[in-house]
């Protein structure tokens, strides 16, 4: 049984999580040797099928994935942790099999890209506003359209009425 947690905000806590992941591998085969399908799936869903691109191993019907699940089961039964098993697969088949690219090497790009895109966006946005202002200053802009300086009782309703009248 696995409860999905909201992952989004963890992005901003990245270093902490990396540390957490490194230190706390889930003691997988906790129940006396009895490895359940759920334990296997918990690991398997973090791996991609090697032959059908982005299909997670826990729901992939191919033979390869059946073998992989078996391998995961054996390793869990041998007492290896989730992290160790994931490492085993990524060492053998490359880091590309990890559903969530590692925060190292080329995979790091996945973690950096959103932040870079966001910051670049903020930069472009701010610059664009400045350019707009300069252009408008040069040409005069739409000075005529300034709203009334004094705020009426309920500006929202005033606006609404205006708009309803316009139509």
């Amino acid at each position: 049984m696995a409860i999905k947690q909201f992952p989004s905000l963890r992005l901003w806590l990245l270093p902490l999580i990396a540390l957490f992941l490194l230190s706390v591998g889930r003691p997988a085969a906790a129940q006396e040797g009895g490895v359940t399908d759920d334990d296997v799936n918990d690991v398997a869903r973090q791996l991609f099928c090697p032959t059908c691109a982005t299909t997670p191993v826990d729901v992939c019907p191919t033979q390869v994935c059946a073998d992989w699940r078996e391998e995961i089961r054996n390793q869990l039964a041998a007492g290896r942790t989730e992290q160790q098993i994931l490492e085993y697969f990524s060492d053998r088949y490359g880091e590309g099999v990890l559903a969530n690219p590692p925060a190292s090497g080329f995979g790091l790009l996945v973690w950096i890209a959103p932040v870079v895109i966001f910051l670049a966006g903020v930069f472009v946005f701010a610059r664009y506003l400045r350019v707009l202002r300069q252009n408008a200053a040069a040409t005069g802009g739409d000075a005529a359209g300034t709203p009334a300086a004094s705020e009426p009782a309920d500006p929202y309703l005033t606006r609404l009425e205006q708009e309803l009248d316009q139509e």
Binding site: Q5, L11, D37, C60, G94, A99, P147, E161
Partner: protein
């Protein structure tokens, strides 16, 4: 014989499309010297486009006839049907395979262009250029259908029977999904065409936006429908318990939808304030290119496996075409850059235009992130020689906060005013909705919900829902007070008088309801997989199941393995019996069909895990508890209704447009 007729229809329409390009070019070239001759050329170029559509319809009809007659001398027919395929599926196999889908693409595009030219034939100035630009896309896709992806290509030998459609595609939702998606895709070609025409003519006011507004909304509507149907199909057929997996094929349809959404919002700033002209052009160009890119990805399977890349050549043709269009449109946008400069500026970051700008900023950021992630396998293969896939969790992490911001904006933005609003009035209007939402969320906390991410999500959704509903209430109240009409009639009048705005708010409401469902499933989905012998029981939260055995039977050409599972509640009362099953088709392909006990609170969803081996006395069952998932579909319904209202032709609008056109024609002495 059939094949020859089909070939003829497609190639003649290619010739007509080329004639459209040539005719409109000549018309443009002689236009300055000889108006009468130019008009003749342009008229005949237009007529050539109008002929393309019926010709392609004929080609489709011939293909459908060949499918119905089991004409296995045509390779495509052999691939997608068998003699035993039901008639309905034979007809829809028209778009079941590669060449057929491209034929469908062509006919839909031709239909959109023909409809646009029929209705906008009085648009004298933009018309020749729009004809020209529109024909480029049509020529490219007709070229594909005429040569590398010829649906009427002969089979090497006449087989006794065909292969048949992939079983996954035999589902009713999957039959509707591609035409919807393609209607969305091809629909976006129309606004793009007019945008480039506006650039080429230098008529850079918001004329092109007004002309194409409904086309854009229609395209967007179909793309949304395609996405929603696709999600529902995945939930009903793919058997992984979800509706969206951030799969490349899903993403490439979602990205143009996102940029299209940004475009629909930002054009409103241009209409009201004359700002962001260049930005709108950029957005529509991007949407168009992403549409072509999406078609490329789906049709060539480029991202499915990078190694299939070398096997087919059509992606190079696609890339060639895309670069051509990119260079062409960038050239014209740069050429007109100074004319596209805005004369106005943002007076305040609290204004309505700023709110639209934030919306655009967030949506474009999401699009870029999804685009980079989707192409990450390609990028990594190219740079480090190893494919890295990006899983759903990473997507959620990166885009989740941005989507949350977008939802907040959805509630607050309608409160802002053009030019400038005061922080005080914004604060006053959103204070009590924020408090009400807070009280409800605290209630949830007390009730036992501990996921703070979900709590924040619920707070945002409730807050924005209240604000959106208030928009309706306040406007209706204003009408009631002014004219003394009843509340219902006032509400109805809102939609009639300003269908675009209130249709838009209804869309917002739909999105918020969907978000409610998405938060529910994303945060609280639990699953459990167990192997059960007859009589064995297993429990997931409040549900206990009992396995009663598997039945194997044959249904037409399908072998079915069907598990019988009793579902009890906590107190041991029998709730229902579920029959998750697996269909194995003749070619050995399997399809996992889930069964679910479904209500507004949650779906208890179950699949027979056929890849773990199934016998009459034992099977592996995977159960999912998907809380609130039905709200996703309900929200989708509201969303579609809102879009229909916003896009519905408004007689008043048409009259204004016609009058404007007349004035313009008079002004240029036409």
């Amino acid at each position: 014989m059939f094949a020859d007729l089909g070939h003829a229809a497609i190639r003649i329409s290619l010739l007509f499309a080329i004639f459209t390009a040539v005719g409109s070019l000549i018309g443009i070239a002689v236009g300055r010297r000889d108006r009468a001759r130019a008009r003749l050329w342009i008229e005949s170029a237009r007529n050539a486009t109008l002929v393309t559509f019926p010709l392609l319809l004929i080609a489709c009809a011939i293909m459908v006839a060949a499918l119905l007659r089991n004409d296995f001398s045509i390779e495509y027919v052999r691939q997608v049907t068998t003699i035993n395929t039901p008639t309905f599926l034979k007809v829809t196999s028209l778009w079941g395979g590669q060449a057929g889908s491209l034929l469908l693409w062509n006919v839909l595009l031709a239909g959109f262009l023909a409809a646009a030219w029929l209705r906008k034939s009085d648009e004298r100035e933009l018309m020749p250029y729009a004809l020209l630009v529109g024909s480029f896309t049509q020529i490219f896709f007709l070229y594909l259908t005429s040569f590398p992806e010829d649906p009427f290509a002969r089979a090497a030998f006449v087989a006794a029977d065909g292969n048949g459609l992939s079983p996954l595609l035999r589902h009713p939702l999957m039959i509707l999904h591609p035409p919807m998606l393609y209607l969305g895709y091809t629909g976006f070609v129309v606004p793009f065409t007019f945008a480039i025409a506006a650039l080429m003519t230098g008529r850079l006011d918001d004329g092109w936006i007004r002309i194409t507004r409904r086309w854009t909304l229609a395209a967007w509507l179909f793309l949304s429908l395609g996405l929603i149907l696709g999600g529902r199909w995945a939930y009903d057929v793919l058997g992984w318990g979800g509706y969206w997996a951030w799969d490349p094929v899903e993403n490439v349809a979602f990205i143009p939808w996102l940029t299209g959404t940004a475009f629909l919002h930002s054009v409103m700033i241009q209409e009201k304030r004359g700002m962001f002209k260049m930005w709108n052009i950029v957005l529509i160009i991007a949407t168009y290119l992403l549409v072509i890119y999406g078609t490329l990805i789906v049709r060539t399977g480029l991202l499915q496996s990078v190694h299939a890349f070398a096997k087919s050549d059509i992606q190079w043709v696609f890339f060639g075409f895309m670069s051509g269009m990119l260079i062409f449109s960038t050239f014209w946008a740069t050429w007109r850059a100074s004319a596209l400069r805005s004369q106005n500026y943002l007076r305040s970051l609290l204004s309505r235009e700023a709110a639209f700008l934030f919306n655009n900023f967030i949506i474009v950021a999401i699009s870029l992130i999804v685009f980079v992630f989707t192409n990450f396998t390609l990028l990594s293969e190219f740079f480090v020689g190893q494919e890295y896939g990006v899983g759903p969790e990473t997507y959620n992490m990166a885009t989740g906060p941005l989507f949350a911001l977008l939802l907040v904006l959805m509630g607050v933005a309608p409160l802002t005013m053009w030019y400038r609003s005061s922080l005080r009035s914004l604060g006053r209007q959103s204070l009590w909705p924020a408090l009400v939402a807070l009280v409800i969320v605290l209630g949830l906390l007390v009730w036992g919900i501990r996921s703070w991410g979900a709590l924040v999500g619920f707070w945002i959704v409730i807050f924005s829902v209240i604000l959106t509903l208030l928009e309706f209430v306040r406007a209706a109240r204003a009408r009631v007070r002014r004219s003394g009409e009843g509340w219902l009639s006032a509400l109805r009048q809102l939609f009639v008088r300003n269908q675009r705005r209130y249709g838009g708010y209804l869309i917002h409401l739909g999105v918020l309801v969907m978000a409610f469902g998405i938060i529910g499933t994303e945060f609280f989905q639990v699953d459990r997989q167990v192997f059960l012998n007859i009589g064995d029981r297993a429990t997931l939260n409040n549900y206990t199941i009992e396995f009663r055995g598997t039945r194997f039977y044959q249904e037409l050409d399908v072998s079915v393995a069907e598990a019988e599972v009793l579902v009890y509640d906590q107190s041991g009362r029998l709730l229902t019996t579920l029959y998750p099953h697996t269909n194995i088709f003749q070619d050995g392909q399997g399809m996992t069909i889930p069964d679910a006990r479904s209500n507004l609170i949650e779906d208890f969803y179950m699949i027979l895990v056929n890849w773990e081996g199934v016998s009459e006395t034992g099977a592996t069952i995977r159960m999912y508890l998907n809380p609130l998932i039905n709200w996703v579909w309900l929200g989708g319904l509201v969303f579609i209704v809102g879009t229909l209202i916003a896009a519905w032709p408004d007689p008043l609008d048409e009259k204004i447009a016609a009058a404007e056109q007349k004035r313009f024609s008079l002004a240029i002495g036409d």
